[in-house]
Every structure is written in structure tokens, then in C-alpha cells.
């Protein structure tokens, strides 16, 4: 059964922009400039119970707006959504009993108090019996390795530790769906790995449906089985991670700089940019092994610097458009519309 259904979800904002020039404030009151911004244009998808879905898109693509409509914070201009059978914008509070959320910068935990106090308050908010609350807190504390963190004021925790506590807090009331908005932003490599493992586990153990937004793909590919990519307010891709990887996730950019001049040619791979001592390579990991390339480059000479980057999401999307129009030459009207639409 679908726990999240988006049906032609649309959101258009009327922004009153400040007029420029003389008497700007006065003119703004008499005849305000109203600009329509179409943040989300007809987004449709269905998420089944127990799925872990990545909701991806570059900044400004409409991700946050969509998730706000799914959780009831924002009312759609058109189309509709059903989460766990409820209309989020009409039954926001009823829905709140069964969903959890961790929204990036916004915290449910009180800044000056230890997480344990916030958990007690959340227990009262979600009407969890005290004994059950204690049991649940202990279980989450153990599973998320929060023992030493529970009694330190939140302001003393690192970002990674805080996010772990936030996710644990969002699970206190055993929600069926968990919405995570950019949960790993600002975290280091190790912290990201921890969070990813946690999310994978709670999906496996408790069957919680997880809906994660991000603008960083590499992060998500390990735990999400399915990816929905949104761009300029429209769904561009909605397919399994496997298919997506096959399509686009295989590119890596490798940059090297040496102390002295070096032979920069690799078997089957030439640099896309080069100077005497440095080079940049575009690696298709389907064809070349990243590990071997790095090994080979390291042995060429004295390495001063090496960088490995993922392909930016925008490029992935552009590549998808390109490959799509190759696959469905001319018939894929949507992509052409999107490509021609430009910025609103």
C-alpha cells in the first residue's frame, strides 16, 4: 500500500517584490509588484511502505517545497497528496502522530538542555506513557550509541552527534514514515557513514519508510533503493538506484598535482586538462577502476595534492536529458519542455 502519494502536486508562490527607485515603499503599498514563482509543477509519485527513497535535486529545484506539502506545512496550489491515507494540509496534526521529521537546521531538541530532557518533553507531546518512554529512550540510546551524549547539553555536541540525537528523537513515537531533509549536510565523512548506517538499519529492523532529500548523490546511493530526481519543479527521474547508477553515477573527477613534471598518460585514459605538473581526469568507473587509477598516478612521481570529486548533480541531470532524448528521440516532450523552460 502506498504510504506517500503525490498526485500532480503543484505550488505557485505569489511573491510581492519590493519595487525599486523613488518612493519605493509607498508604491509598494499602492501597487505591489506580484511575481508568480512556480516552485513545484505537477510532481507525481508513489512510495510504498518500507521503501527508502532518495529525493534529489539541485538547490532551488523544489525539494523543500514538496516535502513541506507532504508534511502539511504548506498547502498545495494544485494537485494533492496523501500520506498514510491522510491529506497533509487538512489533517496536519493527525498526521503528525505517525510521521517523524528531521529538517536540517531546525531542531526539535532544546539547545541548553541535555537530549534526555528534550526526550521527556517529546514523550509528553506524543503522549507516550512514561514507562514506555523510558524503555524506548533506552532502546534508541543503545542503538544510536547515544549513552554519553544524553546528559550533555545539546549546545556542547558536535553536529554529527546532534543529528544522531535528532534522528533518535524523531523516532520516539514510532512513526511509520520518516522525512529527512538534508540530514548529512555539514557532516564529515565518518559522521555521514554513521548516519547512513543508522538509517539503513532502522528501515530494515522497524520497517520505517524513509524519505530523504539531498543534493548530494554519492551519499545516498548506498542506502536508497530508489531515487526521484526533481529539477525546476518537475520530476525528471523516478527509478531504482541501480538503473540510475548505470545511467549516471559512474563518473568521478580526479585531480593531481606533482612536485615535478611527470608522464600524465594512463592506459586508456587521458587527462581532460593538463599542465606540466598537474592534470584533471574524468573517470568512468564502469570502465576504469578508481583504485587502480589512483595507484598508478601515485606511482608516477611525487604527489603534492590529489582530489577526488563526484559528478555534480546538475551534470548528471543534463546527461540524463541528453541520454533520454537519444533513447526517445523527439517523443519525450517533457524533457524538451523542461530544458526550454529555464529559470522561472
Amino acid at each position: 500500500m502506498a504510504v506517500i502519494e503525490a498526485d500532480q502536486l503543484t505550488k505557485t508562490f505569489s511573491l510581492r517584490t519590493r519595487p525599486e527607485g523613488r518612493f519605493a515603499a509607498l508604491r509598494g503599498m499602492i501597487r505591489p509588484n506580484i511575481r508568480a514563482v512556480e516552485a513545484v509543477r505537477g510532481v507525481s509519485f508513489q512510495v510504498e511502505e518500507g521503501e527508502v527513497v532518495a529525493f534529489l535535486g539541485p538547490n532551488g529545484a523544489g525539494k523543500s517545497t514538496t516535502i513541506k506539502m507532504l508534511t502539511g506545512i504548506l498547502a498545495p496550489s494544485g494537485g494533492g497528496a496523501r500520506v498514510l491515507g491522510l491529506d497533509p494540509s487538512r489533517e496536519r496534526r493527525r498526521l503528525a502522530w505517525s510521521i517523524g521529521s528531521v529538517f536540517g537546521q531546525k531542531s526539535q531538541l532544546w539547545f541548553h538542555l541535555p537530549p534526555s530532557d528534550s526526550f521527556k518533553l517529546l514523550g509528553a507531546i506524543y503522549e507516550i506513557e512514561p514507562k514506555e518512554l523510558a524503555r524506548r529512550t533506552a532502546a534508541l540510546s543503545e542503538r544510536f550509541a547515544l549513552a554519553e551524549l544524553m546528559d550533555a547539553p545539546v549546545r556542547k555536541l558536535s553536529l554529527g552527534q546532534r543529528i544522531r540525537c535528532e534522528i533518535a528523537a524523531s523516532l520516539l513515537h514510532k512513526p511509520r514514515v520518516l522525512f529527512l531533509d538534508e540530514p548529512t549536510i555539514g557532516l564529515d565523512v565518518v559522521a555521514r557513514k554513521e548516519i547512513r548506517a543508522l538509517i539503513a538499519e532502522l528501515n530494515k529492523e522497524d520497517g520505517v519508510t524513509v524519505f530523504i532529500t539531498s543534493h548530494d548523490m554519492g551519499d545516498i546511493e548506498k542506502i536508497c533503493k530508489r531515487a526521484i530526481i526533481i529539477h525546476h519543479g518537475r520530476v525528471v527521474i523516478d527509478e531504482s538506484m541501480k538503473a540510475l547508477k548505470h545511467r549516471a553515477l559512474s563518473k568521478k573527477y580526479l585531480g593531481v598535482r606533482y612536485a615535478g613534471p611527470v608522464d600524465l598518460e594512463l592506459p586508456g585514459l587521458s587527462p581532460s586538462k593538463r599542465t606540466e605538473r598537474s592534470a584533471r581526469y574524468e573517470l568512468d568507473t564502469a570502465k576504469h577502476s578508481l583504485a587502480e587509477a589512483v595507484r598508478a598516478l601515485a606511482s608516477r612521481g611525487e604527489l603534492e595534492d590529489i582530489t577526488v570529486e563526484d559528478e555534480p548533480l546538475e551534470d548528471v541531470i543534463a546527461a540524463i536529458y541528453a541520454s533520454k532524448s537519444e533513447d526517445e528521440a523527439g517523443a519525450f516532450g517533457a524533457s524538451r519542455r523542461v530544458r526550454g523552460a529555464g529559470d522561472a
Binding site: 491522510l86 505517525s98 509528553a124 507531546i125
Partner: protein, 322 residues
Amino acid sequence: MDERISIDERRSADPGRASAAGASAAGNTAGGASAAAGITAAGITAAGITAAGVSSRRPGRLKAYARFLAAAFAANAKSALEYRVNFLVQFFGMVLNNAAFAAFWAVLIGRTGSVGGYGFSDVMFIWALVSSSFGLAHVLAGNVRSIGRIVMEGGLDVYLLQPKDAFVNLLASRTVVSAWGDLAYGFIVLALLPGTDFGRVLLFCALMAPGAVIFAATFAAAESLTFFLGNAQAVSSALAEFMLSFSLYPEGVFGKNLRWLFYSLIPSGFVAFVPLRIYRAVDWALVPALWGVAALYAALAKTLFNAGLRRYESGNRMDARV
């Protein structure tokens, strides 16, 4: 509909699955697993309407809110303790400020006998009552003058995502440390006033509570204008200043033309003037009426906030933060 059954069922239900019974019309849960087929959209909508009607008549709900507010208060108190030193300094500053004005009144009334119908102990009573009312409002509903800032910063969403009334949740989620001093100060002055006995202390408390509600409601209403105007900080600050200022001076000096103001937009009449009259005469009969007025102000404030919330949810604001 038995609320209690559905709550217990919801909690003891299998993790991750709302029980079918719990998903019945009485429950607050979303549709259950296999029972989903039996729940029509109409059924859910009907349940949604009854559940959404914020009725405090159901005992389960009232108890739940009481527990929630107590927990919020406990968290606030603990948070406030972190600022012990700061608090003492502010308390001192407030005592100093009030002492200065007490000196002013002592000198003036010493010369003229009374001003606008107020004697010295009348003025002191007003200071005590307004101080405690204002303090209580900010102790229990510390966010009352921060609503605008919170909305502009995007901090409202956290409260919207929780299954408690956003207005109550938002207000109760903070305590203003200095307000504890204001609250205590009123009682200290009360203790120093001649003629204070247990009955009068009780009366003081009975007058302080509606005063706190009216203060909170007025400030919350002004702050809620942020939903409509963008940044209502100026209005809210001005209102707070006006209200406090007018409350602390004798009603008699302001003349008939302004009278209507003090019983409407700047309700100094209800937080100071009327309570003084009640206290002088020790007339308990008028106290319920004052409570009624307080309830009215609270209802109006909530209505305004809810209207603003609807606007917020439509997302169309000046300089919208998407």
C-alpha cells in the same frame, strides 16, 4: 467514542504499524495496514473533522495537554537555571527601576496628597500587580513576544510538525528568565504594603492570573500581525511599551476621551485599573467577570494567530522564505 482505548492501542501497537482498531473513527492515527481497505476516504475525513475540532471537553485530551504543559514548564525552569547569574543582575536592575519610580511617586504624593484618585499604596499595588501579571505571562508563555521573529526565521515549522496545538506549543516552549524576577517582585511589594492579609493575597493571585492572560493575548495578537505585515516588531514593541506605561499611571489622569482605548486595544483598564478597584473594595464578585474578559482576549488572540497560520501555510508572504 472512547479516546482512551484508541490512545492505548496506538501505543501498544506493533512498531511501525497502526493497529486496525486504533485507526477507527475515534483514533488519531492514520489508516492501518490491512484495515485500510475498510476505511473509506469519507470515514477518515469525518474522523478528521471531529478530531480536528479542538474540544477540550474530552478528559483524555485535557490530561494530555496538562502533562505536556507541565513538561514544557519543567524544561523551561531547568533551562532558566542555566542563567542564574544573569537573572540576579536583571532582578537587581528591575528592583532599582521600580525603586526609582517609587521615590518619584513618594515625592509627588507627598506634595499633593493624591494624584488622579491614587494614593501611594494604590500606586504600589498597581506596580505589584502589573509586575506579577507581566511576569507570569512571560514565565509560562515566554515566546509571547517572539512569535514574529520565530515565524520570520522559519522556526514555526517544528511546532507545526508536532501533534499539539501550534499556538500553545510555540508559546509554552520558552520562559523569559527576567520575568521570574518580575513575578516574584510583585509579591515582595505586596508583602510590604499595609493591610495585606491572606485574603488579600488570594485576591491578588486571582487578579494576577487574568492579567497575565490579557498581557499574553495582547502581545501574541500584535506579534501575529507578522503573518500579514512581514515584520511586526515595531508594532509589537510599541504596544508593549504603551500598555506597560499606561498601566502604571492613575486612570483618572487620562480623561474620558481615552477611556475606550484602555478597555480595548491597550487593555490597561483590565490589567490595572479595574483590578485596583476590585482590590480596594475586596469585591470578589467582579473577579469572574475579569476572568471572562481574559478568556475573550485569549480567544481573539488565538483566532488571529490561526488566521495568520492559514496564510503562512499558503506560503504567500512578502519576501517569502521558500
